[in-house]
Structures are given as C-alpha cells and as structure tokens.
C-alpha cells in the first residue's frame, strides 16, 4: 500500500465515485487484460482510491445540529441537546 499523499483528483472524489472507480479497476485487473504498465498504474490508483474511501469511512462521526433562525432570518446552527 503506497503511503504517499493521495492525488488531488482522487481527494476530490465522493465516496461513491471513488468506490465505483475502484470496483471498475478491480474488475479490469481481474479481467487480466491490458498492458503490464497499465495494470500497475491501475493498481496504484486503486490503492489510492481504497485509501481515500477508507478515510471517508473512518471520519464518519455523528454531528447533530439544529437550525436556528437569527433575527435577520439568516440560518445559524447550534448543537442539539
């Protein structure tokens, strides 16, 4: 598993897109087609995607807030007890 920073284009991806791309990469790799260089590149990208997805899952925390309208009608939030 590469420990280098996740490429920016992957970091931008939502969990679902990243997961979909990861699945596509895995399926392609499992198909056993394509050039070796491409396979290795695809693997590296897959590894980054997995890392990204894991981070997304790891960071899942419940945060519950309540909308409070200010006197000017603007929305603000405050923690919900």
């Amino acid at each position: 598993m590469p420990q280098t920073a996740i490429p920016a284009d992957i970091a931008k991806l939502g969990f679902e897109e990243a997961l979909q791309e990861l699945e596509t990469i895995v399926r392609n790799l499992e198909g056993g087609k394509g050039k070796l260089e491409d396979s290795i590149k695809a693997y590296e990208r897959g590894a980054f995607l997995k890392q990204h997805c894991e981070a997304k899952l790891r960071d899942a925390q419940m945060k519950v807030e309540k909308i409070v309208l200010g006197p000017d009608g603007a929305e603000k939030t405050q923690s919900l007890d």
Partner: protein, 478 residues
C-alpha cells in the same frame, strides 16, 4: 354552594351574587354536557393573535359560540374556514365574563362520510394533473450524503429514531430544522424548512444538506393533514435537494409522499434510505482491496508464466543446432543407405528375374527332353508295329503264296490238264464257247501250242482239238 347560603334568611329566596350564579351555571353545564359532538357550519371564524380561535357553529335554527385554544388549534387536522360543515368534539362551558355558553373544541373534523378523504383526493388529482407527481421528476438519492437535513419536530420519537438509525448505519452530519408537524402553521413551517434548506449556499456557514428527510410519526388522518397541504406538496415537489418523505405509518399516505423523490414507510426507514451501512462499506472496501492486490499478483504471475512459457518456446540455440546436425546426419545416412538399398533392391530384382528365366529354361529343356523321349518311344512303338505288321504281312503273303501255288492251275496242268484260251488269252471253259475254226491256244504244263477247232460244238463238250502250236513259255498268272 353551602358557603354562599345564608341561614339567616328563612322565608325569602336566597340571594346570590352574579358570580355565584354564573359559576353555578357553569358547573351545572359542565357536569351535564361533559363531552359532546356537535355538527354545524362554521361562521365568523377568527384567529386571535394569542393563537386562540373563536367562531360560531350554526345550523338552520340555532347558533352557538365555539372556542379553540391555541394548543388545540395547532393540532387540528383541518384548516377551519367559514362555511365548512364540521363536527366538533368538546365540552360545553360558559365564559363567566359574558355568561355566554360555548363549546370548547378538542377536535374538529369535516362532516360527512369520507369528506376529508375526498378533499385530499381532489387535491391529489389537481396536483397530479399539474405534473407534480410525475415519475420523471424523481431524483436519485445520493449514495452517501455528507450532510442530512431533517425536517421534523425537535421533540418526540421521530428525530430520535432517525438519529439512532443513522448512528447505527453510518454516522453523518445531521441538521435538524425544527417545525411543528400538526395544527396551525405546521404546513407553512414545513414548506419554509424545505425551501430554506434548498436556499442554503454551497460552502456557506451552514453546510448545505445532500438529502432531506421530512418526517412525522403516525397519527389520525387529521393529524397528518399538514402533509396534505398544497403548500407542503409544492415545496416538496420543487425541493432543490433530493427529498425523502416519511409521514405516519406504513399504511398512511399523504400527498407529500407523491411529490417526494422517495417515500419511506417510517422515519427509521427514511434513515436507512439516506445512508448505506458503514460496516458493509468497510467490508466491501476490504474485499475490493484484496481483490485489487490479488488481481495484480495474478496479473504478474500470469505474465511471469507467460514469459517462462515463451522462453521455453524460444529454446536453447545449441540444442537447436544439435538437433539440426543430428537430423542432417540422420538423413545423410539414410541417403547413403538409400542408394545402396536401391542398388541392392534392383540387383535382387535382376537376380530374381534371371532365376526365374533359368528356371523357365530348364523347365522347357526338361519338357523338351520329355517330349523327345515320348516321341522316341512313340517312334519305337511305331517301328515295332510296322515291323510286326510287315513281318506278319510277309508271313501271310508267303503262306498265301504257298497256298496260291498249291491251288494254281499250273499244278493242275502238271497233273495233265490243259487250259484253253482264246486268241485274246481268255480261258475258254465251255464247249459252247467254241465254234468251228476257232483258234485256240492250249496251255500245257510245259508249254503252249496253237490249235483250231475242227468240229462244231456238240452236245457233249468236245474234246479239245489237237494242239496246233508248239508249246509256249508259261505267261504270268496275273
């Protein structure tokens, strides 16, 4: 009332204060009409700023005042309007300040069987005709929303159920927009909350939700009426954020359910629709990671074995030459051997042919020899037959000769007989054959003489005339 009874006045009617009477009436009324259902038409409906509502209930003959306190008004299923035929449930009381009796409403429903349902159905048809419920308006919910906006009451089981289910499945950032969910103003608040969430800017101070849940617990048809209000239905249909409706229980359907992108049977189910299960995703991800690694490993090992296979196929160049050298040797040998064989084969063929010729020849010679012998034998036998035949003929001839000679006329002649012949030499054996003067020749055994017949023939054979000629030499018999 004992405290206001004056025992001092015995004959007269007791004297009451107004308050006492009105209180007494109030008590009497309240105990007599503890709870009633009254049907009538609404008129003069007024909502006070305090939130309490005042109106008159009337029919063709009579009218009575009605009041609906703020707390109750908020929970009313219907939005009361003048002219509505309603059935009110409540208690009869008086307002001592005016001593007017009135009904204090606990609930209000539209009069007539299914009147409310019919009203909702009519509204549904009208909004459907506008296309608000069209299937193509429905949007896909995001797979994993970052922020979930929940529109419901801040108290009660609904928000707790949603938060609980979200925490179980996938903890997310939840924004609650608190609203009242029934009664006066509920519809407006819900509609405003939907619009308000949609109006939040991307990246603003308040994070914009990726999905909305509009939820309310179960209740009567009237309880759920706010979610049948047109203002709510329109807000849901035009929500800028995908929206899940979860109003009432599974069997309840409100108009917002038709307009929302997904309808959840319960608030918990809405939470399930909103987020996937985190543990499942982690497991999926792990599995994908393993597949990724093993796919690459397999790809590498496949290529390794492919390479090995090809390398094997390429072969050892030395072996390549050796093989060819061996084949060359082999074929060279076979070439040489082939020529020798060829010659030998032909030689053998010639020898065989010669042998067959010889055999034929000796066969023929033997046959000739055999034929010769046979011929010789036949010749011998022929010769022998001829010899035998000639010998036998000779013998026969001799014996015949002897026999002949024994019977020859010459012998007869020897014995003294004479043979007469005519001039031509033919024997003359009868006298009748003679005539006078006929010349005869008389043959004796020792010679021939001529004679002439002197006398003609008589009855008796004449004796031969005298021989006229000297005996002649005997001629040949034949």
């Amino acid at each position: 009332m004992s405290e206001i009874r004056s025992p001092a006045v015995a004959s007269n009617l007791p004297e009451y204060t107004v308050s006492e009477v009105s209180q007494a009436v109030k008590r009497t009324l309240e105990t007599s009409f503890e709870r009633v259902r009254v049907r009538g038409e609404l008129s003069g409906f007024k909502r006070h700023t305090s939130g309490h509502c005042y109106f008159t209930l009337k029919d063709a003959e009579a009218a009575m005042d009605g009041v609906c306190w703020r707390g109750t008004a908020m929970r009313l299923g219907i939005k009361p309007e003048d002219g509505m035929e309603v059935i009110c449930t409540g208690r009869i009381t008086t307002y001592p300040g005016r001593s007017k009796y009135q009904i204090v409403i606990e609930s209000m429903e539209l009069a007539g069987e299914g009147a409310l349902l019919k009203m909702i159905e009519d509204r549904r048809k009208r909004l459907a005709a506008e296309g608000l419920f069209d299937a193509e308006r429905k949007r896909q919910l995001p797979f994993l929303p970052e922020v979930i906006g929940v529109i419901t009451s801040p108290t009660g089981a609904v928000i707790r159920d949603i938060l609980h289910r979200l925490a179980d499945r996938f903890p997310r950032h939840v924004l609650l927009w608190p609203v009242i969910v029934q009664g006066e103003g509920a519809a407006e608040q819900v509609a405003e909350a939907i619009r308000g969430f949609g109006a939040l800017p991307e990246g603003g101070a308040v994070p914009r939700p990726n999905v909305l849940i509009v939820a309310r617990g179960g209740g009567s048809l009237e309880d759920l009426m706010a979610f049948n209000e047109e203002i709510v239905v329109r807000a849901a249909a035009t929500s800028r954020i995908p929206l899940i409706s979860a109003v009432g229980h599974e069997t309840d359907t409100t108009l917002i359910d038709h307009a929302s992108d997904r309808r959840a049977p319960t608030p918990s189910a809405a939470a399930e629709m909103a987020v996937p299960v985190r543990a499942d995703l982690i497991a999926d991800l792990q599995r994908d990671g393993q597949r990724l690694a093993s796919a690459l490993t397999r790809a590498l090992s496949e290529r390794r074995s492919q390479l090995d296979g090809l390398a094997r196929g390429l072969g050892d160049p030395r072996r390549l030459i050796e093989d060819r050298a061996q084949r060359l040797d082999d074929w060279g040998d076979r070439l040489k051997l082939g020529l020798t064989n060829w010659v030998q084969q032909r030689r053998a063929k010639i020898a065989e042919s010669a042998g067959r010729l010889m055999a034929f020849r000796s066969n023929a010679a033997r046959r000739f020899e055999r034929e010769d012998k046979h011929l010789a034998e036949l010749g011998g036998r022929l010769r022998r037959c001829m010899t035998a035949l000639t010998e036998r003929l000779a013998r026969d001839l001799e014996s015949l000769g002897r026999h002949l000679s024994s019977v020859s006329y010459e012998k007869v002649l020897e014995r003294g007989f004479v043979l007469a012949t005519d001039a031509a030499g033919h024997p003359v054996q009868k006298a009748a054959e003679t005539h006078a003067s006929m010349a005869l020749r008389l043959h004796f055994h020792d010679g021939t003489v001529g004679a002439t017949v002197t006398e003609g023939a008589a009855r008796k054979p004449a004796r031969p005339a005298a021989v006229s000629d000297a005996p002649k030499k005997q001629g040949t018999l034949l």
